[in-house]
């Protein structure tokens, strides 16, 4: 099943199960979704439940929040999370903080979903990764699916969750196909929020990643295996809450850590994981933590520059080797 089909089936099943669930966003209806994620839903559920909005992120996000205050369960689609910046006031100030400010009177069962991070050649304003931004805000839950099973299970969990959930998809993963178990195809299938998945077990180094980088990390692990390094790859699945227990248990086993993310390095997800390890597993580290992140520049357009600005499989392999053999870091060698 492709990730696109997985998301579509999750939306379909949840809308069918609960009439309070509705989808709103730009092009979600007649256009069948800017990335075809909501294909067929307009025909099935009608224009009252699949709303094509005008180009008014701040306005329609706020409308979604107001509807959620009253117990409807909106799914707000952002064409990409870059456009959500126009609505970020509502995501943070009227969604994330409301349950707290109202002392539990106003919970906000809303899902904000859409593609996040780099795509292919879309330039600086369409390639920003927001995992660290939303991951720092109390009151939000932030999910980053990788495989089709992740997409299905996490989206269903997000829609059923009584709190605001940021669901960060990845445009380049939409077309990728993954095997899905029979259990994952069941309409009651949900994945727990806040639990990471160990995609591949290993003994020598822990590699944490989320979204597209999980695929890169798995490929890197295969290359490393041939060179005698057994890498454990953790698919974070949940940026907030972060599954510290799984990450720490893994590092306490392997004693080495490489964090991988697509977004900018400063104040990123890797920085948070590094701090977590220092707090809980300092004595277990045999080498400093290696952080692989996107280049600290706005995303360039030229294809070769873009390739250099986003982590590639070779970067992960190199970092794992550095952390295992303590070879000289790339920057110092330059």
């Amino acid at each position: 099943m492709t990730v696109r089909e997985a998301l579509n089936s999750a939306l379909d099943e949840e809308m069918s199960a609960d009439p309070k669930v509705f989808l709103m966003g730009e092009e979600v209806g007649e256009y069948q979704g800017a990335y075809k994620i909501s294909k067929g839903l307009l025909d099935k559920y009608g224009p009252e439940r699949v709303l094509d909005t005008p180009i008014t992120e701040a306005g329609f996000t706020g409308i979604g929040v107001g509807a959620a205050y009253y117990g409807l369960r909106p799914i707000v689609e952002f064409m990409t999370f870059n456009f959500a910046m126009q609505a970020i006031d509502h995501i943070i100030n009227s969604a994330a903080k409301s349950n707290y400010m109202s002392a539990g009177q106003m919970n906000v069962p809303i899902v904000f979903r859409g593609p996040n991070g780099a795509a292919a050649g879309v330039g600086a304003q369409h390639s920003h990764c927001y995992a660290a931004w939303y991951g720092s805000c109390p009151g939000l839950k932030v999910l980053t699916p990788y495989s089709s099973e992740d997409a299905r299970g996490l989206l269903k969990a997000a829609i059923r969750d009584p709190d605001p959930v940021i669901f960060l998809e990845n445009e380049l993963l939409y077309g990728e196909s993954f095997p899905v178990s029979a259990e994952a195809l069941d309409s009651s299938f949900c994945l727990p929020i806040g639990k990471a998945k160990i995609e591949r077990e290993g003994r020598d180094v822990t590699i944490t990643a989320f979204s597209k980088m999980v695929g890169h990390s798995l490929k890197a692990a295969e290359i490393l295996e041939k060179e005698g390094i057994s890498a454990e790859v953790i698919n974070l699945r949940s940026i907030r809450p972060l599954d510290r227990a799984t990450i720490n248990a893994s590092v306490q086993k392997t004693n080495r850590l490489v964090t991988v993310e697509e977004g900018f390095p400063q104040h990123g997800v890797g920085a948070e994981i590094c701090a977590t390890i220092v707090e809980d597993s300092f004595g277990y580290l045999d080498a400093p933590v290696e952080r692989i992140a996107g280049a600290d520049v706005p995303m360039p357009y030229a294809a070769n520059l873009e390739r250099m600005a986003v982590p590639q499989v070779e970067d992960i392999v190199r970092a794992a080797k550095r952390v295992c053999h303590r070879s000289v870091p790339l920057a110092a060698a330059a």
Binding site: P54, G62, A67, N99, D163
Partner: protein, 330 residues
């Protein structure tokens, strides 16, 4: 009284008083049913009271006590009441407008999709003149008219956004004209006269309730005090203040009632006394109420507190009974 309490240190932070604008809140909100909703800005104390939130709960919230309407977690600018359908209390101007539009959307959705035939709830969005230059305002005028939502947009035009005069900030200062541009009626009313406001409100609310769509009502009003208790209020012309002080809505109504033999001086004095008693009682109650306990810090962040994640022992943190007693480390 709020000002006195503030200067005595019982209230803190940002407090925005509503003196002078009472006719707008009373004129509109007293026409609503309990199920109708109101969304306001940081100047929300009186909207809360008009909607039915008890004075004690409002005062306690201002004092930051656990008996406040939001257990002291919201404060002056963030009053919420699920029971009375007061949906806030927002600090960012314009933020409440889309939320109000969403509440109106829900009313329509419940009637048409969830088939609750008797759901004709109306939403009122209150905001000021400064907000009328904000993008979200226009986005919502458009969508409310497009989808014919049961909402009334009430502009409390008190001519000043902190120290920025409405005339210095707005290309066309006549706000009610912005309604027809989006396909809804735009009405201007004297916001210092509660009976005039009520008449206009009746029409607008009836229009929304019958499914005919939104209305934009501009109420010309004035705040007698500064923007907040921290505002030295130096920029406003004393002559302007005097002009509006002479049109105090409460005094005007008193005069009207007496002249038309609807009430006597004695009866009105008794009401005044009763109000003083309610206020004194609220202050006493708030003063004697307890501060929130330490464990309240981590409460109400999530409706499903699994959002705090899994602790080092592998269980969800919220399942640990001692979770909320912890320190920042938790």
């Amino acid at each position: 009284m709020c000002a006195q309490m503030y200067y005595r240190g019982k209230m803190f932070g940002f407090v925005h008083l509503y003196n002078g604008q009472e006719a707008v809140s009373t004129g509109f909100i007293k026409l609503l049913k309990k199920e109708d909703s109101v969304v306001s800005t940081y100047r929300d104390h009186v909207h809360a009271l008009s909607k039915g939130v008890p004075a004690r709960a409002v005062m306690s919230e201002l004092f930051g006590k656990t008996t406040g309407c939001c257990r002291g977690q919201g404060g002056s600018m963030h009053m919420f009441s699920k029971e009375h359908n007061l949906l806030g209390g927002f600090a960012f101007i314009g933020e409440g407008i889309p939320v109000a539009t969403g509440a109106a959307f829900t009313s329509k959705y419940r009637r048409e999709v969830l088939k609750e035939a008797d759901c004709d709830h109306v939403t009122l969005a209150f905001f000021g003149d400064g907000t009328c230059n904000n993008g979200q305002f226009f986005e919502c005028l458009n969508m409310a008219a497009l989808w014919k939502l049961p909402i009334v947009f009430v502009v409390e035009n008190n001519l000043w956004a902190i120290g920025m005069s409405h005339l210095r900030a707005t290309s066309d200062p006549q706000i009610y004209k912005k309604g027809p541009a989006f396909g809804m009626p735009g009405i201007h009313v004297n916001g210092m006269d509660v009976l005039k406001v009520r008449a206009v409100a009746q029409t607008a609310i009836a229009r929304a309730r019958s499914g005919e769509g939104p209305t934009l009502v501009e109420c010309e009003t004035y705040r007698f005090r500064g923007h907040s208790l921290a505002d030295p209020d130096e920029l406003r012309d004393p002559a302007e203040k005097a002009h509006y002080a002479a049109r105090d809505p409460i005094t005007a109504l008193k005069k009207y009632l007496i002249e038309n033999n609807l009430a006597t001086e004695v009866e009105l004095k008794a009401i005044d006394k009763k109000i003083e008693e309610v206020v004194e009682d609220a202050v006493e109650f708030a003063d004697e109420s307890p501060h929130p306990t330490r464990s309240q810090l981590l409460e109400n962040v999530f409706a499903d507190p699994k959002g705090f994640g899994i602790g080092p022992d592998g269980r969800y943190r919220c399942e640990d009974p001692k979770f909320t007693e912890g320190t920042a480390q938790v």
